[in-house]
């Protein structure tokens, strides 16, 4: 075979391996997970092999000019990587594509800088081997450095809201695609470089990348504040309802006190007459009256009052309302006041929301619907326990998988989201059980 051809093939394979490893590494940085080498390997194999070979064919074996071939293969790369991300990371298609584009921005700009620098400094060398060896080593080093920077600045957390927003996913995917294409154009331009402009060129690439990242972070930040605003509004609404509830209770207390005073006057008269039988009867009725009219409400309000974190209180109130609407009896127990604990309250809210929604939806189908919620903040730990009746069997091993649901198609993301959130809190432990026809989920977090 043609020696030059073999040589080009070898170089191309090395290039693909290294750039896809770095690309895959960036994917982990963006999704915020620890690097799992099996996943990385599968990614390199799948997208590297497919887009790498197509790229090779387009570049060296077709009649397209270099730039066109490169652009087409970039788009193909993005598409294949998005497909890989969909399967390996279990994101939906648009999000996977967005993530691929963002990772692409970093990877291409790295490549652009390295390629231009190495080309510049080794322009005179005869040895192609030296050239490519230096190129690959630099590529790997810079890739590792950038990855470290991304990890240290918790890039995944910063960009989380950019990825998580539900609406207009395709718009943001398109936006990310455009941003990535801009970097690609720069990458292609490096061929037109003269040695004088190299510094300007690299400065341009770095500047552009930083600019693009800042655009992403800005949009992400906007989404985060929008969400916080939404939460605050619902929190306010819940507290309004809560205050109305308390005011209502106050009114009923006043009425009760009035009746109570009358009853006491009556009892005084009975006491004077020595009619202990009548007194006993009145006392009995009093206790039942109290319990029925006010006792329950005071109990409920005390428990809710013990939740000292307004965000949590708001969530519990809204779920209680949901239960009332669905005529599900709720037993809420909060023995001790709840203050801050080892978990971000928004994340906790999401988890509690998932557990309660599951409990509510399950309880509705049972003969005697109820949901129990115990929040115990004591002894250095905060334990949450959600229980509901469940007359069937529960598949404790498989219910955590995404897509598993007893409620039909297109469901089943709650518990896998729950697990995903908890992955960020290694100190939190969970217990699930289904015994004596009661299904229980518990979550314990150190304070």
């Amino acid at each position: 075979m043609n020696e030059v051809f073999l040589w080009m093939l070898a170089v191309h394979i090395m290039d693909v391996l290294i750039s896809y490893s770095i690309y895959g590494w960036y994917l982990f940085d963006i999704t915020g997970e620890r690097v799992q080498f099996q996943k990385l390997g599968k990614f390199i194999l799948f997208s590297g092999l497919s887009s790498g070979s197509i790229g090779f064919v387009l570049l060296y074996m077709s009649t397209l000019n270099d730039v066109a071939a490169y652009m087409i293969s970039s788009v193909i790369t993005l598409v294949f990587s998005a497909a890989a991300v969909t399967f390996l990371w279990r994101y939906d298609a648009w999000r996977a594509f967005t993530i691929s584009c963002v990772a692409g921005i970093f990877q291409v700009s790295c490549g652009a800088v390295i390629a231009s620098v190495v080309a510049h400094f080794l322009a005179q060398t005869e040895s192609l081997l030296l050239f490519y060896a230096v190129y690959f080593i630099c590529y790997l080093t810079v890739g590792a450095v950038v990855s470290l920077i991304l990890k240290k600045m918790h890039f995944s957390r910063l960009i989380r809201y950019f990825l998580e927003k539900e609406q207009t996913l395709w718009l943001r995917a398109a936006g990310a695609f455009v941003l990535e294409m801009m970097v690609e154009i720069f990458f292609v331009l490096r061929r037109q470089l003269h040695s004088e402009t190299i510094i300007t060129y690299n400065a341009g690439v770095v500047l552009l990348t930083v600019l693009l990242v800042m655009i992403l972070l800005y949009m992400s930040g906007k989404e985060e504040s929008r969400r916080k605003l939404e939460y605050q509004e619902s929190l306010f609404m819940q507290q309004q309802i809560y205050v109305k509830h308390l005011e209502q209770m106050q009114k009923e207390m006043r009425v009760f006190r009035h009746d109570y005073k009358n009853t006491l006057t009556g009892m005084y008269l009975y006491a004077k007459e020595g009619d202990t039988q009548k007194i006993q009867e009145v006392l009995e009725r009093l206790e039942i009256d109290f319990d029925q009219k006010i006792g329950e409400k005071i109990h409920a309000a005390t428990q809710i009052g013990n939740i000292c974190m307004p965000e949590m209180k708001s969530l519990v109130l809204s779920k209680l309302t949901k239960m009332n609407k669905n005529e599900i009896a709720c037993r809420l127990e909060v023995l001790y006041p709840i203050h801050s604990f080892g978990m971000d309250v928004w994340d906790y809210n999401q988890c509690l929301g998932i557990l309660l929604d599951n409990a509510i939806e399950a309880a509705i189908t049972q003969t005697e619907p109820y949901v129990e919620l115990q929040l115990v903040y004591e002894g250095g730990y905060f334990t949450t326990r959600v229980a509901n009746p469940w007359e069937q069997e529960a598949d404790l091993a498989h219910m955590w998988k995404e897509g598993y649901s007893t409620k039909g198609e297109q469901r089943g993301v709650g518990l896998s989201n729950y697990k995903r959130i908890l992955k960020r809190y290694p100190q939190a432990v969970s217990v699930t059980s289904c015994e004596n026809q009661v299904f229980v989920q518990e979550l314990t977090v150190p304070v």
């Binding site: 009995e284 115990v376 250095g380 334990t383 404790l396 432990v429």
Partner: protein
Amino acid sequence: MINIYLCDDEDRIRDQIQSEIEKKILIEAYDMCVAFSTNSPKELLEASCRAQQKQNIYFLDVELKDAEYDGFLLGKELRRIDPHGTLVYITSFQNLAFRTFQYHLEAYDYIIKDPKKQRDSIGKCLESLHVRLRQETNAQISEVYTVKIGDMVKYVPLKDIICFETTAKSHHVILHTKSSRMEFVGNLNEISRQMGDAFIRTHRSYLVALDKITDINLKNNSLMAGNVECLVSRRMKSELLKRVGRRGTPEEGERGWLPVPFPKCKEP
């Protein structure tokens, strides 16, 4: 003779409850007696510490007004002193936060302070206690595995354990039983040592109870125990088959947690 301890800061109520309990014990000739009655949680704790005999019954007021110990904290402390004791709570409101007590402290039951309902309530409670304590033998009490989750201690009967599994989280282990799945801080190597020969470490991440294995699929490198799929490493395949085969007759398997005897004399 099972000792009953009483703690309620309303003396009149406490005396009344004591006399009701004693009446019931007399009528039904239960092997119980009221050993100690006080309004101070601290005194109760001291008495309990000093007591030679454990596994007592404690009737505690839910709403103790003590500065250091309320009903819950008193119960928690008592659990530490007498882990297998029985806690019964005395409450003036029906069902007030009872689940929390029942769940965190494994409180057995509650009785109501209201004099009209008291007798019935106490009567029923003592009856069911009597039955339960008769059923529990010492042997059964020792056959539990203790799991510490946060501040709580849970007891899992050894015969219910299907397997232990490591999680992606470091230092954490999942305990699988037929009806539950618990995550806790633990180390599979230590647990393996603790559990002995009734369990087999089929894989770096799995420690399985031999008598729960229902299906072995060597081609897939997995086995089914209960409804949990466990992995089998290549190294352990032969050992697994050996020990499963060695389980022998059903009577042996029924011994549950007891170590499988080496059937030297039974080998062909």
